[in-house]
């Protein structure tokens, strides 16, 4: 278990929608993710994929079952304790980027350090994170002045800032064109090459093929788990696109 970043056993989650409509989003899901893995989480809508994301991201706690994240049992933590876990161990990347529109790129990246971390090195670390995703120059632009791909790179820089145990990406390329998709995937692959654990929710097969492992969900349980023998390399794809244009 020591090298396991995510250790999920028999996790259930039930939502009550309205008066009589009870949704069993998770019905005993098990999942293990080891450090350094790149996992794509797939499944049709209603499969419990989103709930799984929320539980993995400590945005929600399971009704029953065990969830150990980076050797911390997070299944029964309070809201504030979960917030601290999110701040320290998880870097979120969302489909809709979720940047604060009134802050510039740098300030957006700094955000996790406001809620935990040293004030003095904040700016410097944010700048380094932005450089690591290839956004060294446009750091004083607001999100509305950046392209989708650039916004998502700001979001990745924000996710990286506290050096989290894993990066949790929810359909990170869902709103991007194929070129930006390739760029973002290449960043994930590079981060993974450097040892970062990446869990990515997607419903696109060819995006999932960039991961090293594909976990499929159906009806609230993990229904399939396969190793990708030959993951696609986004950099190569990018190179051919650049050559073609």
């Amino acid at each position: 278990m020591t090298d396991s970043v995510i250790h999920l056993r028999g996790v259930t989650k039930t939502y009550r929608m309205g008066k009589d409509n009870i949704v069993h989003a998770l019905r005993g899901a098990d999942l293990d993710v080891r450090a350094g893995e790149f996992v794509a989480l797939m499944g049709p809508s209603g499969s419990g994929k989103s709930t799984m994301m929320n539980v993995l991201g400590c945005l929600d706690v399971p009704d029953t079952g065990t969830y150990i994240l980076a050797n911390e049992d997070v299944a029964s933590l309070t809201d504030d304790e979960l917030a601290a876990i999110r701040n320290k161990h998880i870097g979120f990347v969302f489909q809709t980027f979720n940047l604060l529109p009134r802050l510039n790129a740098l300030e957006n990246v700094e955000l996790p350090l406001i809620y935990g971390g040293d004030r003095h090195e904040r700016r410097e670390r944010a700048q380094r994170a932005l450089e690591s995703v290839g956004l060294g120059e446009r750091i004083h632009h607001r999100p509305s002045e950046l392209s989708g791909g650039q916004q998502q790179r700001v979001a990745i820089a924000r996710a990286l800032l506290n050096d989290p145990a894993m990066i949790l990406a929810d359909e990170p390329t869902g709103n991007l064109d194929s070129r930006s998709t390739a760029e973002i995937l290449s960043i994930f692959q590079r981060l993974n090459d450097e040892g970062k654990t990446v869990v990515m929710v997607t419903h696109e097969q060819d995006v999932a093929q960039h991961a090293k492992r594909i976990v499929r969900m159906r009806d609230g349980v993990v229904a399939g788990d396969e190793i990708v023998e030959q993951p696609l390399r986004a950099e190569e794809h990018l190179a051919t696109m650049v050559a073609a244009s």
């Binding site: 504030d80 999110r86 701040n87 940047l99 604060l100 009134r102 955000l111 809620y115 004030r119």
Partner: protein
């Protein structure tokens, strides 16, 4: 999250929504300005009433004829003349060392006064030699009456600064002779009395009390007022006693009462034929009135402040709603409940605090304008008023910001993130 970051974020949000922030603040600005201006006017009124009363002399205990304390039918009471010059002398001899001075006054109504063709109509009052001490009113030139002036019904006068101005211009009136004239009857039956008085002193300038100039009057000895001007021999309107100090006023009031009860042969428990009034009581009653007045004005301002606070709450609720996603994002990257709560609270406090400061400036401006328009009006802004105004506006930010902030803090991160 550090307070400094909260402040930065709060100011940013105030600046971004300029128009909205300004309109929201307007409620607080007007409220605080109203409180400041109205309390300033109230304080000013209170101060000017106080100084008006004290301008009549300080530490005074006055005795007037008739009873004001009795219930039932005594409507004609105040017109009964029971006080005499001998009452004053008795007080003087019996209470001598415990009081500072005593004075008996008798108003004689208005007289036409003539000097070298200059005419002036003014109030003539009979007073006794201690008048300048009792009323804290020195002379600028000449001398005041003496006991012997009283004994011989001397036709001498001490005149007020304004009266002197009217009759003598800039010249010194001391030593001059003026004529008092009164006309009886009307038409062909009209007859005039003409009495000569020698001016022996000039009173210092005192200003006005409740809008009446105190410098327009002529003083004559009490006995002269009784005999020569009024044709009676005994009674006086008022006996005014000046206590040794403010602390001894209650004792002096009691002493004066006892002396007069004895002299007037009134049994203990019976209704006296005079009333003793302590100046402290008068001041207390007046300050009670002005305090109520100030409170009323303050309350009017307070209501607008309350309305302003509700405006703050309203706009903060809108702001929380609008920024649900932002709250979700902040929570996703690790903001705790308290972080969100303080952020929105500080934002509300920033709005009201800034509004409070602007309100103080506006309130100050209003008092300046009021003073320009009505120059006699006294307005007083105290540090206390300013502190209370700032404190209250910050408190309003906390009170009315708390509910929206709590709503923001308790949002579930998933629902907040999904909010469109």
């Amino acid at each position: 999250m550090k307070i400094l970051d909260s402040f930065r974020s709060a100011l940013q949000s105030v600046v971004v929504n300029k128009l909205r922030s300004a309109l929201t603040m307007l409620g607080v600005i007007i409220g605080v300005a109203a409180v400041i201006a109205m309390v300033a006017v109230g304080n000013g009124a209170s101060q000017s009433v106080q100084s008006s009363v004290l301008a009549l002399g300080s530490n005074l205990v006055s005795v007037t004829p008739g009873s004001q304390t009795d219930a039932g039918l005594r409507g004609a009471g105040p017109t009964i003349q029971t006080l005499t010059l001998d009452d004053m002398r008795a007080i003087q001899t019996q209470l001598g060392p415990t009081i500072k001075a005593v004075d008996a006054e008798q108003r004689t109504g208005r007289w036409q006064v003539v000097y070298a063709g200059q005419n002036w109509n003014t109030q003539v009052t009979g007073v006794s030699p201690d008048y300048p001490i009792v009323r804290d009113w020195p002379l600028t030139s000449g001398d005041f009456f003496t006991e012997s002036d009283l004994n011989i019904f001397a036709q001498v006068a001490v005149i007020g600064a304004m009266t002197s101005q009217q009759l003598f211009g800039e010249a010194d009136p001391v030593g001059q002779t003026i004529q008092f004239r009164q006309v009886f009857g009307t038409g062909p039956f009209a007859r005039a009395r003409i009495i000569n008085f020698r001016v022996i002193g000039l009173l210092d300038t005192k200003g006005s009390t409740f809008g009446f100039s105190r410098d327009d009057q002529i003083l004559v000895p009490t006995t002269t007022a009784q005999r020569v001007l009024q044709g009676q021999t005994k009674t006086v309107d008022t006996i005014v006693v000046k206590a040794a100090s403010s602390d001894t006023m209650d004792a002096t009031t009691e002493d004066v009462r006892n002396v007069l009860l004895q002299r007037h042969k009134i049994a203990e428990g019976a209704t006296p034929d005079f009333t003793v009034t302590n100046q402290n009581d008068t001041l207390a009653a007046l300050s009670n009135i002005t305090a109520t007045f100030t409170l009323l004005l303050g309350a009017i301002g307070g209501i607008s402040l309350l309305v302003g606070g509700i405006g703050i709450m309203n706009i903060m609720l809108v702001s929380v709603n609008e920024r649900t996603r932002e709250i979700g994002i902040r929570k996703a990257v690790g903001a705790r409940k308290m972080d969100i709560l303080t952020q929105f609270l500080i934002e509300a406090v920033a709005l009201t605090g800034l509004g409070g400061i602007l309100g103080i400036l506006l309130g100050y401006g209003i008092t300046q304008v009021v003073q320009q328009i009505q120059s006699g009006l006294l307005v007083i802004i105290t540090i206390g008023t300013v502190a209370v105004a700032v404190g209250v506006s910050v408190a309003i930010g906390v009170v009315f910001g708390l509910y929206p902030a709590m709503r923001a803090a308790s949002l579930h991160p998933i629902q907040a993130l999904r909010y469109e």
